[in-house]
């Protein structure tokens, strides 16, 4: 650790603490989402596997996996920063970080980086486990990584916003159930938006999760509903916007420093 410059040790320590925090309860934070994704896979592929073919030549079960991976990456990146913040706010131990010389940028970076790592850990674990059953093509690994990193970054930032805003656990649960869940379920994880009526196709275009899932899937199959470059631009733009909002809130000390 002493290899890191003294100035960087502060944010590095916070990042390390945030990593350890979820790693210590890895059964709940990594193994559980992998299990959930596998259950989705099992059920949906059994029910729909023989009836639906979204992309020509791609069995439904195979089509489903990238969407499930990305959905889990996003949900877990959000869960990491949001639950850490709300817990330390409710417990009161957020004060230990607020008393230190860490700047709001350093605070943001540490929480964001830990969220991205959690998202990637969960995503990679689902990928590894699903490889045991299914042969998944990997057409553009860098695109896959780019979507995973920026997507989890965006949700990590969103998690910080939710964590700052919420004052109680039920407010956080509401955020999760009424914002994150609908956005992720209505993003095309289980279907192609071309199978939707025109109105819902239009609505889907306003959902940033749709671009993340669609672009991520392109990395595997080389096929997507819309151009992956357009999707990547939307994801990066959303990531930057949410990060700026988060940084602004931290800078103002929103609900942290009165």
């Amino acid at each position: 650790m002493n290899l890191i410059s003294q100035r960087m040790r502060g944010p590095w320590t916070l990042f390390k603490k945030e990593l350890l925090r979820f790693w210590r309860v890895g059964f709940q934070t990594v193994a559980a989402p992998v299990m959930t994704a596998l259950l989705y896979l099992l059920i949906f592929s059994h029910v729909l596997g023989s009836r639906v073919e979204v992309y020509p030549g791609v069995p439904y079960t195979v089509f489903l996996i990238p969407g499930l991976i990305m959905m889990s990456v996003l949900q877990n990146a959000f869960a990491n920063s949001s639950s850490s913040l709300i817990q330390s706010k409710v417990m009161g131990n957020i004060i230990f970080v607020l008393l230190t010389p860490l700047s709001y940028i350093e605070f943001f970076s540490a929480f964001l980086a830990a969220s991205i790592i959690r998202g990637l850990c969960v995503g990679f674990s689902i990928y590894l486990v699903s490889m045991c059953f299914i042969d998944l093509p990997l057409n553009h690994p860098w695109i896959i990584l780019a979507f995973a990193v920026f997507g989890s970054g965006m949700l990590g930032a969103f998690g910080i916003i939710a964590g700052l805003w919420a004052e109680k656990f039920d407010q956080m649960a509401a955020f999760q159930n009424f914002v994150i869940m609908p956005l992720s379920f209505l993003s095309g994880v289980f279907y192609s938006i071309h199978s939707l009526p025109p109105l819902w196709q239009t609505v889907s275009h306003f959902n940033p999760f749709f671009y993340m899932i669609d672009g991520f899937r392109y990395g595997f199959f080389g096929m997507s509903d819309i151009s992956p470059w357009f999707s990547l631009s939307v994801v990066i733009a959303s990531f930057i916007t949410l990060s700026l909002v988060t940084i602004g809130m931290l800078r103002a000390g929103y609900k942290l420093r009165g």
Partner: protein, 299 residues
């Protein structure tokens, strides 16, 4: 010498509430200073402003010459705060918590020896690997003190450090804090136990409704109350003629303030005339509590 703490015309509003009304305060390096006052006087607000947990509406605050807003990094390096609530991080054990805390201040492995020394001084060595959740209240309190010290701050603020702490631990804690003061640390504390402040602190600020209403050495404050206190247990209420001398009363237990010791004869005579008999009697030097009650009542 740069003051350890300097507040200039500090105001803090919470909506309509004017929590601090232009506080000016200088605390010199090496002082053992007490901040006293009833609940809601603004003590915690003042501490939170120093710690950067709150931002002042106007005015400036500095720690060791560093402005808490403009030079917040240096100011926070110079300050160790022991919060009033028993807060802890349930994911980690004591040693991990302390090492993380030191890390936030930019300290690496080279600081581990100091962390272990603090753990030892506070009698926590056998709990170093215990999860914070499993520590008792007193242990958690000590852990909070340890946490405030890991980055070796020259100024230490303790917000009600002995609230809910048993007598023995309270004694150990004060011995440790006195040692820190002897070693050159500036100590600022808030406490409800006035006898603690009287025994330990060289200077006292008394706050009421967002203002410092008295700021002096403990000695001078004690001298400001003339005479002595007479504690009486009576068979009936005191006669009207003595009411002006009553400092406080609890049923038939009275505390009377005597300007001069000779007044005792007058008191006894009045009681005899009123047919009130004395069941118990004690002559007491005024303490900080009397000063406190006197000033709070007067202002």
């Amino acid at each position: 010498m740069t003051p350890a703490i300097q507040l200039t015309q500090v105001h803090k509003h919470f909506g309509a509430l004017h929590a601090l009304k232009g506080v000016d305060l200088n605390i010199e390096q090496g002082e053992f200073f007490a901040l006293l006052g009833p609940n809601g006087a603004g003590k915690s607000t003042l501490i939170n402003l120093l710690a950067g947990l709150l931002r002042p509406t106007s005015g400036t605050l500095s720690v060791m010459g560093f402005d808490v807003l403009k030079d917040y990094r240096q100011a926070r390096h110079a300050l160790g705060v022991v919060p009033q609530e028993l807060v802890f991080d349930p994911f980690f054990n004591l040693r991990e918590m302390l090492r993380f805390q030191a890390g936030y201040f930019g300290r690496g492995n080279e600081n581990d020896t100091w962390v272990d020394e603090v753990i030892e001084c506070l009698g926590l060595t056998d709990k170093a690997h215990t999860n914070m959740r499993r520590l008792s209240g007193g242990m958690k309190r000590r852990a909070l003190i340890a946490q405030a010290l890991v980055h070796k701050p020259p100024v230490i603020v303790l917000d009600e450090p002995t609230a809910g702490v048993d007598v023995e631990l309270r004694h150990t804690l004060w011995e440790f804090i006195k040692r820190l003061n002897r070693e050159g640390h500036t100590i600022i504390l808030t406490t409800h136990y006035l006898e603690e402040a009287e025994e330990l602190c060289s200077r006292v600020a008394l706050m009421k409704q967002g203002e410092v209403i008295a700021l002096d050495s403990t000695k001078n404050l004690l001298a400001s109350i003339p005479g002595k206190n007479l504690k009486l247990k009576l068979s009936a209420a005191v006669p009207q003629s003595l009411m002006a001398m009553v400092r406080h009363q609890d049923a038939l237990d009275y505390m009377l303030n005597l300007n001069e010791i000779t007044q005792i004869e007058f008191v006894l005579a009045e009681l005899r005339n009123a047919n009130v008999s004395v069941l118990d009697m004690q002559l007491i030097e005024p303490d900080l509590e009397d000063v406190f009650v006197d000033l709070i009542g007067r202002s």
